[in-house]
Symmetry: C2
Subunit: 685 residues, 2 copies
């Protein structure tokens, strides 16, 4: 059975469905002139950002692709070098294309959602949801299509072995990760630059409401939601998705070949089919409650995935009970993903202890509020880490029990967790669209009823975003473990004999690797602070120099603010991103392949911990502020509110810049190790 074709076909269907949804959303009415005006400004800002990001990315790819091609070419032959460099460019290209389509859909869905909000929740919800689904379906479809095609061409047109063909898909994965790193880190800096500046000058200094059209930073803020949350989060999840599939394929090729190499593609395919069905069903599950519809879609996807997964593993032709050694670990991965998502929800929900205590702490001042949210952020890592440990334990032992190699078990567990990712990205991208819709409704003066609908969608969007973040981190953890196993194989470390933890290269590698995520976080947060500093100056200047602006008689210069945020974000991300690529290479050159293994392990540990901590502390502060804004402890304008706003601002770069970039960063570092494995082998044979 040509599973590559089936997988590529599923990818194509997903892309076509995305295009269909795009058409469905964009043919709707766009609302009043004022609304279209605002939406146009957001669209222009988003395009301007994406264009600049693509230029910067192109320059980056222009340096990295030849380096990969030459290094791999010298060690493995020219054909391999060219193939992996092309795959790298394709990976980055597919993600760029999908993100452009997704963003274009999102910045058109927002105004249409706001317009539909005048008719009520039932009319508005599908617009926002299917606007977001364009991103989810397009990026997952393109990715699955790309991997299948490259693997197929490698096997047939070039006549390579399974292992060689699987290794070339690493290039595709690396390209997708390069895009993800830019989108997450750059987008993260961009979105928080805009958000913080808009709040600091608008809300704090001048006391005008959020999303007020007089604020010169408000468009940049709305653009930022799309850049960071639509393009960024989609790219982040998909970069784990691709990496998990590729790592599992490499381990499959090594540990048995044949069906083992193709199984990851098969699992991903049925996951995508289930996701398409789930996304399709969401609109019929909507009975006045968007949360129920989203959960219904997720349950439908998971249920269908289970059935298809059973069918595909049971009939895959594995000897004896080995199919159970694939089926059960995949389930364990899926379960762990859901558990981690749910605990994230607990730690950041507006009606749970952590957030409520953080809100109460705000009555004792900003410092106690910050300490409390900080502590809950640290506590929140416990259930997720236990979840990762249980998933590791379960997939390892279940695979072994049924005669499947345990590393392969961990790899398929990561693939299992991520195969429903199209559904997850769709619910996630729903968040920024609703957020924008709320802004447009406010700026377009749509009245209290429409605003209430937009508020309801926005609140649901925040919950989805929190759950997705937890899911993304858990998925990254399992993916990177799978990649870690694939790396050790690629550099010819005997899996049974392994890597000695008590040797100085490994110990030093662990320390250096563990140092990277905090270092990367620090650089990104400092970048946000610097960039926001520049933009605050500009916003203050406009209020000072544009006559009539504060009275609402003149229009602010939105474009300059978008420009500052864009240029700063892209300039600031180059150094941290280069570190993510260069440091593993330096460790490999100076200390060897065992040290690099230790390095990757160290980076996984602190990467996961800092990502969870930052995402959840940020979420708790954000919702604590929202809780105070519902009227608790004196409500808006009270001392407690001011303290809570300070906490929320500290949390902004935690949860939307540094935290979510860490997943991608550790994936990139693992991919660097794997892509350069042939070079490592030559140097440290």
């Amino acid at each position: 059975m040509m599973w590559e074709f089936v997988a590529a076909g599923a990818g194509l269907v997903s892309i076509l469905f995305a295009l269909y949804l795009y058409r469905q959303v964009t043919r709707r009415a766009g609302g009043t002139d004022r609304m279209l005006d605002v939406a146009k400004a957001i669209q222009d800002g988003a395009s301007a950002y994406l264009r600049r990001q693509n230029v910067t990315l192109l320059a980056f790819l222009g340096i990295v692709a030849p380096v990969i091609g030459i290094l791999v070419g010298v060690t493995q032959g020219a054909e391999h070098g060219v193939a992996i460099a092309v795959a790298y460019l394709l990976g980055a290209g597919c993600s760029t294309l999908a993100a452009s389509l997704g963003m274009t859909a999102a910045v058109r869905a927002n105004v249409r959602t706001a317009n539909a909000a005048r008719e009520g929740l039932t009319a508005a919800f599908p617009v926002a949801y299917y606007g977001g689904a364009v991103m989810g379906l397009a990026i997952v479809g393109l990715s699955l299509f790309g991997i299948s095609l490259i693997y197929y061409l490698g096997r047939t047109a070039l006549g390579w072995t399974e292992m060689d063909a699987a290794q070339v898909t690493l290039g595709f994965s690396f390209g997708a990760s390069a895009f993800a790193l830019f989108a997450k880190a750059g987008g993260g800096i961009y979105t928080k630059t805009a958000d913080i500046s808009a709040d600091l000058v608008g809300k704090v200094e001048l006391g005008i409401p959020e999303d007020d059209p007089r604020n010169p930073a408000v468009v940049a803020d709305n653009v930022g939601d799309n850049v960071g949350d639509v393009a960024g989060m989609g790219a982040d999840l998909v970069d784990s998705y691709i990496a998990a599939i590729v790592a599992a394929m490499i381990l499959g090729a090594e540990l048995g070949g044949g069906v083992f190499t193709l199984l990851p593609l098969m699992i991903a395919t049925v996951g995508l089919v289930a996701s398409i069905a789930g996304v399709f069903m969401v609109r019929f599950l909507m009975r006045g409650n968007p949360g129920a519809a989203l959960n219904g879609g997720l349950f439908a996807t998971s249920g269908l995935f289970l059935v298809l997964l059973f069918a595909v593993t049971y009939t895959a032709g594995l000897p004896g009970q080995e199919w159970l050694g694939v089926f059960l670990p995949t389930l364990a991965g899926l379960g762990a993903g859901i558990v981690i998502g749910m605990t994230t929800d607990y730690f950041t929900s507006i009606d749970r202890r952590p957030t409520l205590n953080t809100a109460e702490a705000a009555t004792k001042g900003a410092a106690i509020n910050i300490m409390t949210g900080f502590s809950y952020g640290l506590l929140s890592i416990v259930p997720s880490i236990l979840g990762i440990c249980i998933a590791t334990f379960a997939s390892w032992t279940l695979a072994e029990m049924f005669g499947v190699n345990p590393f392969y078990g961990i790899a398929v567990s990561a693939v299992g967790m991520l195969s429903i990712v199209a559904t997850i990205i769709s619910s996630d991208a729903f968040g920024p669209i609703s957020d924008n819709a709320r802004g447009i409704a406010e700026q377009g003066d749509l009245g209290p009823d429409a605003l209430a609908v937009a508020d309801a969608l926005d609140a649901q969007g925040n919950t989805s975003k929190a759950v997705t973040k937890g899911f993304a981190i858990g998925a990254a953890a399992l993916t990177v473990l799978a990649m870690f196993a694939a790396y050790t194989h690629l550099v010819d470390i005997d899996l049974a004999q392994g890597i000695n933890l008590i040797s100085y290269p490994v110990i030093i590698g662990l320390f250096l690797g563990a140092m990277m995520p905090p270092l990367f976080s620090a650089l990104l947060i400092l970048a946000v602070g610097r960039n926001a500093g520049r933009m605050v100056e500009e916003v203050r200047r406009q209020f000072r120099e544009i006559p009539g602006l504060i009275e609402g008689k003149a229009k602010p210069d939105y474009k300059t603010c978008v420009d500052i945020a864009t240029r700063g974000a892209l300039r600031e991300l180059l150094f941290p991103c280069s570190l993510a690529i260069l440091v593993p290479v330096v460790v490999m050159l100076l200390l060897g392949k065992e040290a690099l293994a230790g390095f990757l392990a160290g980076s996984i540990l602190t990467g996961i911990i800092f990502a969870l901590f930052m995402a959840n502390a940020g979420g708790a502060w954000d919702n604590a502020k929202k809780y105070v804004e519902t009227g608790a402890y004196g409500g808006k304008g009270s001392e407690a509110h001011k303290a809570a706003v300070t906490g929320d601002t500290v949390g902004d770069p935690f949860k939307d810049t540094a935290g979510p970039s860490l997943n991608t960063m550790i994936t990139v570092m693992s991919l660097v190790a794997e892509v350069f494995a042939p070079v490592i082998l030559l140097l440290w044979a």
Copy 2:
């Protein structure tokens, strides 16, 4: 040569010198009645705290000692069980005794320093310094005396092998760590409870100055400095000191025996001799500049230590050039300690970029100030981690080059770093004494000249404290690496074959271990927040209910505040401390000895990272506030100052509660693993 006697003798000399200094300090005049009044309140508060802490510790020891005795007794024979339980109690007892003496000296030296400040800096400095040296000399002396005695008795009176005798000293180390954990975590909660409450109600709500006698929390605040910084820091450094010596002795007994077992004692002995000489010389190095005198003392100690170290290793009778394989790693350890201390100084110094940028960020509000300090705290881990990596690399390869086992090299490098610890503790304890002296001078109305002298001493004290914190963390890192090597030996893991990093028990162990330091930090910070909440209520109540208090006509009830801080701190520390002991046991029972090795490794990684980050972020915020208070950005009372105060308050539990407790916590977890090694062996042979 009976090196045990020489070591015990050096310990005794140190104790006698401490008693002599105690007498020298206490015979000085105590100042005016008002000053003696204040000092009396601090003394009473400190005694009350110590008494309660000792009672709680006794209950804790009463549970843990029999458990150790029985478990070790069942597996290794009754004699061993009794011996190790007794050694455990002795270890805790020695630390308790030394800390009591040190605290008693410190709370008497403070008022005498304030009084001497009326005569000028040259008169005041030696009082503060030698008051602190009592703690340093007493605790190091008692520790070295205790280890030597136990080892000697084991070898002669009980006729044990070197390994058995060395293993019993583990009990002593564990006891000292139990005390350190209580003193650091309990003292840390205590001191920040008092500090935050005093500031929040006094400075922020009522606008009265720091150390104002009308503030009911002011005495508790002054007590806290002594509890956290004198007893806590001394116990923390000494617990690493003892653990490093014991780990090196165990490795020495395993890897060759004879002189290798005794060398760690020998190195520690010459280190103590050099420290005694260095401490003695400090007063003669004082020429108007306390910083120069302290540095001079440190250089004199280091120089003398080098000479003695050369003499002792060269003449130890090691075959061939093996003495170089001990001498050079010891030097590498000492060098790394100094480098880490200096980079800590850079990141927290009031005239360097990190602190200046953090201060500048305060002009943009509390949130940006906090983000900036947070980021610099994260950046600050980079040079220290590089220092630890270089020390590991150097001591490993230098030992190997000259035919000494590399694990032994790392162990002696930790011993080398810590052997001058008596000098380090002496400069550190100088800090809180000067801080208190400043408070007493303020409360005793000593006038601007005396206050200026006290301020100069206080500023120098802050620098010393920052350097010591970095040193303590670096020392803990190397110590725990040495203990890690000792653990793997004790549970019969072949050092050459090692522990396989890519196996599920080790991976899960790493994740769980890495989770512990953030979890522990979160619990401690939440404890400070809760406890400060209680105390703020009490302080507000007193201002409300005691007539004439705010006008300075009535005296506040200091004692109730001291009580609240004490009881809360001791209640709050039990859960986190129990976790530090129980979780390693659970990991060992459920997952085995390899998993426990992974657990220890994971805890070292994040333990060091969080300890460095918290200590340095806290230091940067603190000094950024002080910088604003010098008049920058509007000085005291400006918006920037308010923002900087918020940052400083967030940093308080970071740098004085959670951060410094982490060293001790990871040491305790390693000791649990080592002490229960015989049990582990029986279960997972």
